[in-house]
Amino acid sequence: MTLPGPLSFQDLILELHRFWSAQGCVILQPYDVEVGAGTLHPGTVLRALGPKPWRAAYVQPSRRPSDGRYGENPNRLRHFHQYQVILKPNPTDMQALYLASLEAIGIDPRLHDIRFVEDDWENPTVGAWGLGWEVWCDGMEISQYTYFQQVGGLDVSPVSGELTYGLERLALYVQGVDNVYDLAFNDRQSPAFKTYGEVFLENERQFSTFEQETADVAVLKRQFEDMEREVPRLLAETGRQGQALVLPAYDHVLKASHLFNLMDARGSIAVAERQSYIGRIRDLCRACAQAWLTLEETAV
């Protein structure tokens, strides 16, 4: 396959969609609740649980309020895009598939230094961990590659392989650009060509200020507590078909998690409180994971 020059940001996504679609993945849309990482999409966290095979790929806009740099840093964003792939059970040739996906977006592994560097992934807020690597391309971490071992505090079987591509970083690499805001978002020949900056710089500026300076901590705290109360209540409710309302409950866990990240970015979480907040979110997530698993196993 020959490519006419480097891919634009959106072409990168389209190529990945094409590649993983050909591998039998469901191409999902981003989840419409604020999350800190693509893993948190229910298409990964919940679907990794239980016995049913599952292959999915999607883009997930991810928010890390603490990473805001007011649009002044060429490499750091508080809102960025992860390309997420989950293959359950992971196929034997998953590494080879991953490398083929890099070739599909114009990274020739015979010209670059691709490395799998130990990184034991864990996300304490969702009680998940796995073993795997950061994937480096010429010293840059372009993906996270993980074999899930636990999700929501529960052992998983079969094991899912998870790939997370940092899309902005990949695009910087593929386009040979140093500043994220200079990335070509769409085709340079387009009559309405836009750079990444033209699409997102203003968001970074406004939200950095909001998240680190302006957000009302008292409101965030109150909302967090509301979400925290809602999760067990929803899990105790029953849907028309007799099931627990796991999916709505999980949405509330995601909201609680984002509110926690906002409070953290405002510097209002003491070191000692931190663990307790994370523990509270993890407990909520565990409850959802357990309820989801019960649903999956009984619905076989």
């Binding site: 740099r69 002044e72 840093n73 060429p74 490499n75 750091r76 059970p89 992971n90 196929p91 034997t92 590494q95 490398l99 592994p109 015979r110 010209l111 670059h112 230094d113 691709i114 490395r115 799998f116 560097v117 130990e118 034991d120 796995g130 073993l131 795997g132 690597w133 391309c137 010429d138 010293g139 840059m140 074999y147 071992q149 079987s157 079969p158 094991v159 392989g161 910087l172 690499y173 140093d178 510097g267 209002s268 003491a270 070191v271 000692a272 409180e273």
Partner: protein, 672 residues
């Protein structure tokens, strides 16, 4: 003699686990062969990022044949019993031997083929491998450090079958992931294997990989007046990350040389695994870096070099952002942030900790010859860098960055040094501060930690020491020694507000013992001196050294024997009834008793004078004068004399000798 070759081919093994894996593989193979009574000449193991390999040379093709004796019925047992035994043992009546009143069947056991044993051994190795962390994958149950794909398992050039879930076992493996044509290869012995790997761009032996890195790096630097900043830990790690090590000298934007060199090096090392490069002789960092790629590319690494340089720039840009913005806020103003940071729920906020350190540094200052105001100032600023962006990004630069920021706001040099170095010494290899202000703050930092955590009952237990209190105590000890500080631990602990300095003192005693034992000192001597209750560590060590020298000499060893004898007698007598009180009198006879009395009287002022002058060798020499009279006394005088008053005086004399010796050290605790 035949050879066994095993290769375990997997996805990338963490670099830090590879050395241990090579050792574990060797141990498992050695234990398995030994248990099966199979002799061999040599075992070699290799570990790299995608494979572990084992080669055993000099194996027989079968276990040695063995003769096994099996005990049968006693001689004269009924024929039926004997017939049953012959049947079960599978031997004829003629093959039985008579021994110890019973029949024995001698059964020849043919050794099993080695291949069978190796098959089982391979399965055991895979099942029992002690990875620090392992995982399952796919739908299987097999555990390995990362997914295990295939095994080469050949003995004497034949494939040894082994049943391992989901894993192909044979004579096929793969070479480098990207270089060459990427097709699998076959190998039936180690020579073929090594040759195939070399042809497929894999350097099997880690020492060979390291040698290539070092040689190539030198060659790259040599022509340009540069040298690589050596870093063995990094070399170990990098050698475990590549199969075909290819050093590349990259260019760093020179504007980053304005950043503190620690920032540049930390970023290179911890984030990127690059070696720093400096000018030969000058010691200054050069605007380059050395990365070790895992591939040779048609463009000679040009794209890789540019890519790595760009990543480093991005990292350092972020560091520069913090470096610039951090310096806009005075350190003092950071304390407001520390107010919101909890140090420990029971020990208050970081600001409260800072205030304790500040006050403590002021109190310690006069004890270490430091200016109290400077020590307090440094104590106040010491932790401020924890609230800076750069330390948030590079936690390992705490202190170092504080020093830079203190210098940037024109703090006095002593304060700058103290802020920078007050965490020292952090480990056995770390240097010990000598500047008095730094010493004051370094002590205050550690003592606040120790008294705080001991105060809330968080003393270390067993291997659990989550707050690194052992390291803190050892730091205090080294600060005291290396600066020859004349302070008592419990005084320091009281200054730090300890409610029960005794517990802390015991803890310090234990740490001291460990430290002194590491220096090769006997811990019974440490006990013997520590039992005197002296807390002046400088004095304690001087005493231990003198005692050690004394006991090594003949006088000391003999006197110790005399002391033990005296103590034993006194202990035995005290069990019968209370020992006589009061001081001994000079006996007219026998001469040995009078001589000992005189010698004691003569030695006492010498001992006291030497002790007062802290001249412990002098005190030992004075003690040595007792050796001959003590020996003679035990030789000639019967302590348990029939006359009660004679006996009492002799006991008093022995008690006086014991007490005199105990001023110098608690000899009863000396074991040797």
């Amino acid at each position: 003699m035949a050879q066994f070759l095993l290769e375990l081919f997997s996805e990338e093994i963490p670099a830090r686990m590879q050395d241990g894996a090579a050792r574990d593989l060797e141990r498992l193979a050695r234990d398995g062969l030994t248990a099966a009574e199979i002799p061999f000449d040599t075992i070699r193991t290799f570990a790299g990022s995608r494979r572990l390999a084992l080669v055993v040379d000099g194996l027989p093709t079968a276990q040695p044949d063995r003769l096994e004796e099996r005990k049968g019925p006693r001689i004269g047992a009924p024929d039926a019993a004997l017939a049953g035994f012959l049947r079960s043992a599978g031997v004829e009546r003629e093959a039985l031997v008579e021994k110890d009143g019973a029949y024995f069947a001698v059964i020849a056991r043919a050794g099993r083929p080695t291949a069978d044993i190796l098959s089982g051994l391979t399965e055991t190795i895979v099942a029992k491998f002690p990875w620090p962390k392992s995982m399952t994958w796919g739908s299987g149950k097999l555990r390995w450090v990362r997914p295990l794909h295939s095994l080469i398992c050949v003995f004497d050039r034949q494939i040894v079958p082994a049943a391992i879930e989901g894993v192909r076992v044979g004579d096929i493996s793969e070479g480098h992931r990207f270089m060459g044509h990427g097709r699998p290869f076959r190998a039936r012995d180690f020579d073929e294997y090594r040759e195939a790997l070399a042809g497929h761009f894999v350097v099997l032996d880690v020492s060979e990989r390291k040698r290539r890195i070092v040689d190539k790096a030198r060659a790259l630097c040599a022509g340009r007046g540069l040298e690589v900043v050596e870093d063995d830990g990094l070399l170990d790690e990098v050698a475990g990350m590549v199969e075909w090590p290819t050093p590349i000298l990259g260019d760093m934007d020179p504007r980053f040389l304005n950043l503190p060199p620690e920032v540049v090096r930390t970023s290179m090392r911890t984030h990127q695994r690059y070696f720093a490069v400096r000018e030969v002789g000058g010691g200054r960092l050069a605007p380059h870096f050395l990365c070790v790629a895992n591939i040779e590319t048609p463009d000679g690494g040009a794209l890789i070099s540019v890519g790595n340089a760009r990543v480093l720039s991005a990292r350092l840009d972020d560091a520069r952002f913090f470096w610039d913005s951090d310096r806009k806020t005075p350190l003092e103003a950071r304390l407001e942030t520390l107010k919101g940071v909890t140090f420990h729920t029971q020990l208050g906020t970081m600001l409260q900790r800072v205030e304790r350190i500040e006050a403590l540094a002021r109190r310690i200052a006069p004890l270490v010859g430091a200016d109290a105001d400077l020590a307090a100032r440094a104590g106040r600023l010491a932790k401020a860098d924890l609230a800076t962006g750069l330390v948030g990004e590079f936690p390992e630069l705490q202190g170092v960055m504080g020093g830079y920021y203190a210098a940037a706001q024109d703090e006095p040099g002593d304060v700058v040094a103290a802020v920078r170095d007050h965490y020292k010494p952090q480990g056995p290899g770390d240097s010990v501060p000598r500047e008095p202000v730094t010493v004051a703050v370094a002590l205050a930092d550690k003592l606040d930690t120790l008294t705080g955590f001991f105060g809330i009952g968080q003393a270390p237990t067993g291997s659990r020491d989550p707050f690194a209190l052992r390291r803190a105590a050892l730091g205090v000890i080294r600060l005291i020694f290396d600066n020859q500080l004349r302070v008592s631990i419990s005084h320091l602990a009281r200054l730090a507000g300890a409610e029960s300095p005794e517990t802390l003192l015991g803890f310090f005693g234990d740490r001291l013992k460990v430290a002194l034992r590491d220096q090769g000192k006997r811990h019974d001597l440490v006990d013997a001196v520590f039992a005197l209750g002296d807390e002046d560590l400088v004095r304690v060590v001087a005493r231990i050294d003198a005692l050690s020298a004394f006991l090594a000499a003949e006088d000391g060893a003999n006197l110790l024997a005399g002391f033990k004898r005296a103590s034993n007698i006194l202990a035995a007598e005290s069990r019968k009834g209370p020992l006589p009180e009061g001081l001994p009198k000079r006996a007219a006879s026998p001469a040995e008793e009078a001589d000992l009395f005189d010698a004691l009287g003569a030695a006492r002022p010498d001992i006291d004078a030497a002790l007062a002058a802290e001249d412990y060798s002098g005190a030992m020499t004075a003690l040595a004068a007792l050796r001959a009279p003590v020996d003679a006394f035990f030789d000639k005088v019967l302590v348990n004399a029939p006359e009660a008053d004679v006996r009492a005086n002799r006991l008093r004399l022995l008690a006086a000798v014991r007490d005199e010796m105990s001023k110098v050290a608690e000899f009863s605790l000396v074991t040797g």
